[in-house]
Amino acid sequence: MSTPSNPAAAQKGDELPPLRLHLTRADLVRYAGASGDFNPIHWSDRVARVAGLPGVIAHGMLTMAVAGRVVTDWVGDASLVRSYGTRFTRPVVVPDDDTGALVEITGTVGDVTDSDGVRVARIDVKAVFDGKSVLGRATAEVVLPG
């Protein structure tokens, strides 16, 4: 594993500082309120099971948002992000306990290109829950500072 990279000097293959975080039911409730997504599969086990899920799952957009922090924490300015996208490949099941679901997020500089006088990095983001990747082809394009 290489040393976490300085964004101003980023090169292909650099690894970003990883994130480990726990998503709890309280986090899902807070995100529901902040985002306006009150789909009950994110707060009701009963409704989640009727929908064929093992229990309450995190909003895909919450997983995407927290995974994006690996990029914005690194560059330090969300306005430098040009694009961000992902597929939602597996649900993050969030138990009704005090620990929640552990999600581990990593980012790697996939490419650096020059674009209109600025350097733009493609960051490949991975988010792992329960030993499996929950985001597919998650990538962000970000303008490198300095």
Binding site: L21, D27, R30, Y31, G33, A34, S35, G36, D37, A51, G60, M61, L62, M64, A65, V66, G68, R69, V71, T72, D73, G76, D77, A78, S79, V81, R82, S83, Y84, G85, T86, R87, F88, A140
Partner: protein
């Protein structure tokens, strides 16, 4: 059964959505984003921003409720209760700031039915009050056929 005649159409622009500073702070807290650019107006302005800077996925706070309203409208015929989110892309033409007044136009780009699922691609074009593009989002939504 979703009404295929919607494909290729767009809905009337919705807005303005007023981007409030407290909404940016609330959203940043909800995703654990501790950047001072999303919280402290003096820091954001000193860094050259006109106001607080919204986190990258902030646009979901106003695009997803519009998408939900469209998908719950019986006219389209979508089963919202069994919907899952398959894919999300966001392209930023500029950052979203506190004080922005934003208008969102939903475009129904594609509807496919495969392997027992309906797969719908909705694109949102977000523009400011002067019509300048701010963000383009694309959501793949899946429900049982």
């Amino acid at each position: 059964m979703p009404d295929e005649s919607f494909v290729g159409r767009s809905l009337p622009a919705a807005g303005p959505f007023q981007v409030g500073r407290e909404k940016i702070r609330e959203f940043a807290t909800a995703i654990g984003d501790t950047s001072p650019l999303s919280r402290d107006l003096d820091v954001a302005r000193a860094a050259g921003h006109p106001d607080l800077v919204a986190p990258p996925t902030f646009s979901t706070t106003f695009t997803m409720p519009l998408i939900e309203a469209f998908l719950r409208d019986p006219a389209f015929g979508w089963d919202y209760t069994r919907m899952v989110h398959g894919d999300q892309r966001i392209t930023f033409h500029r950052a979203i700031h506190g004080g922005d007044e934003l208008f969102t136009t939903i475009h129904v780009d594609e509807l496919r039915t495969r392997a027992g699922s309906h797969m719908l691609t909705l694109r949102c074009e977000v523009a400011d009050a002067t019509g300048e593009p701010v963000a383009t989002t694309s959501s793949l939504l899946v429900t049982q056929a």
